[in-house]
Amino acid sequence: MKQLLFILPLAMGISSSPLAAAVDRTRKPQPDPAPAASFPDYHVRRLSNGLTVFVIEDDRKPTLNLRLLVKSGSAADGEKTGLASFTAGLLNRGTQKRDAAAFAKETDFLGMRLEAMASADSISVSAGALTRYTAPMLELFAEAVLTPVFPGEQFAKEQKKALSTLEAERQEPDRLAGKLSARVLYGAHPYGAVSTPESVRAISREDLVRFHSTHFRPNNATLAVVGDVKCDQILPQLEAALGKWEKAEVPVPQPPAPHPLSGVKVHLLDRPGSVQSNIVVAKAGPARNSGPIPELNVLNATLGGGFSGRLFQNLREKNGWTYGAYSSFDPRKLLGAFQAGAETRNEVTHLAITEILKEMDRLQKEPIPEAELELQRQYNVGNYLLSLESPGRTAQRVQDMDLYGLPDDFYKTYARRMESVTAAHAQELAARFLAPENVAVIVVGEARQIRAALEKIGPVTVYDADLKPEAP
């Protein structure tokens, strides 16, 4: 990638004299020529069993980090909601070689990290340690990935903790808003499944064993290696640790399409005692590999991407209704969503929602003024450049290209695409993706105080903390 930033001088014809004795502080200084940055180099290799390995050499720290991305996540839970999460959580709780306590003792003693978590489309297993512990780290990592035994006693403990966690979530406004949004947006699609005490109790350790043996396969994963190593030196060690991992066919889930949203409907989760409302305005959005993602970044930033976004400027800086107001697209493998949100005091809940809908509408009705659009283009392009500082982030992007089936030049053309968004294109995208129709408004708050005002926005369904709708 060549020029990432091209910046028009504010005052034409005035060349900056960089080392002038005194600065003119009445005006903004001119930038130097924009730095060039390109997507960092990485190596792609394959182990004998087909596992794709990405290696990013980085000698800034004497550490080595591994991240295995298994390309099945909670969307593959099937009837057992929470299964992928439980499977991830129990990988380090006992292997064919050592029990949970011995495993914890080994990893902790080395000062090694080993973490796994499930998201909608994948499970990541990450490890990190000093490079001098590469050999034991690889051994422990391979054990957790290849030969976990999911002991019944460890599973029972996690199941019990999960029930307490669900109890805690009944009082956490962010969690409640997230769960209700998922359910409303995605319905019967696996992205809409949320854990309940019943779903937690319905899982058995045999389910974990089955999920692991079905989905944890070298042909269904990629491995990123980042750190102070040379690709050619680490490969034989990876082959020794993971090469015997066996391939198998992995089923591809065929989930039902969600019921599309229609109209503008309010979903109010009653949380008595709330002194703020958590607001989420949600809409269906593009999937990761089908949407014009770089262009949507610029559009979204204009609406609610940061401090200069319209939502922040309107709801916070103009009205003082909230501490923050942001929006984002969440494009996943199979489907996606758009969400805009804020937390506001009870009295202004409906006003804030009205303004969010109005700002969405304005983007499809009026072209973005050129100065504002240029700001948002540069904001996105510049911050993309800043993000290239982190080799871990680069590794994640490389793995994402594979997971979502993005073209090889996706990140090579990323900045150029963000830089090229015109006002007309942005307006067209807004009409396609941000029109304030077929929208779900999710609110977690004190129904007694806010319900009546919410009726002005659309028909209101009230839910309890178990996400059960009240009889109308």
């Binding site: 903004k28 930038p31 009082q171 008595p272 003082g320 937390e343």
Partner: protein, 498 residues
């Protein structure tokens, strides 16, 4: 991280290392998630705290350096005639720069009838200056392809910009403008009053355990300027006049009370010239008078029960006084924290979570400030577990540690953990600028960024038992309990304060 900042309140809620960069669709902010799928955030996370301690001074410096493979962070530093301390770290790994300005003023510099003032003022620093129109600082940084944030804690207020490296002059211009002549008018004050109230509702009043740190500080640091938290109280911000804000600015936002650190892709000679040009003319302020915090010895245990309708699970927190961050005992105390609660092989995890299945999570945290500190142990109970049970288990483990000390294996483990923490730290230019400034201001030794690990290595195994006995005093215990209300949640709660 070897060191996280104390609980703080910011311009936005993003963690210090997570700049509010634009959405990069589908990508979480970090490559490596923080924990195994954690079902419930730790008590500390629930209360929006960074409950980690801080190290310092003291351990023997004569210890020979161990070969760790960690590459030193090179820097140069100097003072301008007006007292501004400047630290430059040149690094060309990526075309980025971070500027970081630390003002040595936090909530402990506030009057007890003006709590929340320092943090509120931090919001006002985004209003503008003589030469920067109101509300345009963020726009200038965004249009230059950068991001920014700020935060306030007990001891400091900080401001940072991350930018492509061709924008160094812009960063220095803005920071010097608001150091020289920030502009504060009524319009901005009124809006930010509302914003800060929402910030408090969000992080404190509307969250389970949200008042935890407020209650804790009031109990442990009673009678000192650490007894209130940076977010402060609504009523005082409403009472403060514009003249008071101007006086606060004149007192604390002076070059002789500030440190500027710049890290990244720049030429040091040119950066120095720019710093001199932009900051050199800012007049030195009067000497800042700092409060002294002295906590009288605690002679009897204290307890406080916080009854809230929104408490979903029982939680308990035990805290004892500990020294300031620069005390030599800070290092063994930090190591005790690891032994008690870092990893599944740690003592409290094994006992409370694994063996007894009483807790969802446990955390031992030295929380050390510039002039005082505390050592805390917290646990969130599983559903139906009694607070008595949690308290008893914590007490047993603490007493056992005092009686038996730590094993050789635990001692080696914690040394390895500290080495791994330091090896993995200070990656981004932002983190480097931030920590260089912090080590200078609070430890008067900028190079500690490179040498602090040696202070952990200088701690002896016996020191761990010694500090356990010295600080876990039965009479000095402060216990804070969050019981689950008897009636089922779902009943209307009493109105939370403003």
């Amino acid at each position: 991280m070897p060191r996280l900042l104390p609980p703080q309140t910011g311009l936005t809620t993003l963690p210090p290392d997570t700049a509010p960069a634009p959405q990069d669709v589908g990508a979480p902010q970090t490559f490596f998630p923080g924990k195994w799928r954690s079902w419930v955030p730790s008590l500390a996370a629930l209360s929006a705290l960074s409950l980690f301690g801080s190290p310092l001074n003291g351990a023997s410096t004569a210890t020979p350096a161990l070969e760790t493979g960690i590459r030193p962070i090179q820097f140069e530093e100097f003072d301008l005639p007006n007292g501004l301390h400047v630290i430059l770290h040149e690094n060309h790994a990526a075309p980025v720069i971070s500027t970081y300005v630390l003002y040595h003023v936090g909530s402990k510099n506030e009057r007890s009838d003006r709590t929340g003032f320092a943090h509120f003022f931090e919001h006002l620093m985004f209003e503008g200056s003589e030469n920067i129109p109101r509300g345009s600082i963020d726009k200038l940084i965004s249009a230059a392809g950068g991001n920014l944030n700020a935060s306030t804690s007990f001891d400091q207020t900080d401001y940072y910009f991350n930018l492509p490296s061709n924008q160094l002059a812009l960063a220095l211009w803005i920071e010097s403008e608001r150091m020289l002549h920030a502009k504060i008018d009524e319009t901005g004050v009124e809006t930010q009053r509302q914003v800060v109230k929402e910030e408090k509702r969000r992080s404190v009043d509307n969250q389970p355990y949200g008042t935890l740190f407020e209650n804790l500080a009031a109990m442990v640091f009673k009678g000192t300027p650490y007894e209130w938290v940076p977010i402060g109280s609504f009523q005082y911000i409403d009472q403060a006049s514009i003249e008071e804000f101007r006086a606060f600015y004149k007192t604390f936002y002076v070059p002789n009370n500030a440190t500027l650190a710049i890290a990244g892709d720049f030429d040091p000679a040119r950066a120095r010239k720019l710093v001199e040009d932009y900051f050199g003319s800012i007049p030195r302020g009067a000497e800042v008078i700092r409060p002294t915090v002295s906590i009288p010895p605690q002679t009897a245990p204290r307890e406080l029960e916080v009854l809230k309708d929104n408490t979903p699970l029982p939680a308990t927190l035990h805290a004892w006084h500990a020294p300031a961050e620069t005390h030599p005992d800070a290092y063994p105390l930090e190591m005790l924290g690891n032994i008690l609660s870092t990893g599944r092989s740690s003592r409290l995890y094994r006992r409370l979570v694994e063996k007894e299945q009483a807790a969802l999570d446990v955390e031992a945290f030295p929380f050390l400030l510039e002039q005082a500190g505390m050592l805390g142990v917290s646990a969130t109970g599983q559903s139906g577990v009694t607070l008595q049970k949690l308290d008893q288990l914590i007490e047993e483990e603490v007493e056992k540690l005092k009686a038996e000390g730590v094993t050789e294996e635990e001692f080696q483990k914690v040394r390895n953990q500290k080495e791994a923490e330091f090896a993995g730290a200070f990656g981004s230019m932002n983190t480097r600028a931030r920590n260089l400034a912090r080590y200078h201001v609070f430890y008067k030794d900028t190079n500690l960024i490179n040498t602090e690990l040696q202070r952990y290595f200088a701690v002896k195994r016996e020191d761990l038992q010694r500090v356990a006995r010295e600080y876990f005093k039965p009479d000095g215990r402060n216990v804070l309990r969050f019981p689950v209300p008897a009636k089922p949640s779902g009943q209307p709660a009493p109105a939370s304060n403003p």
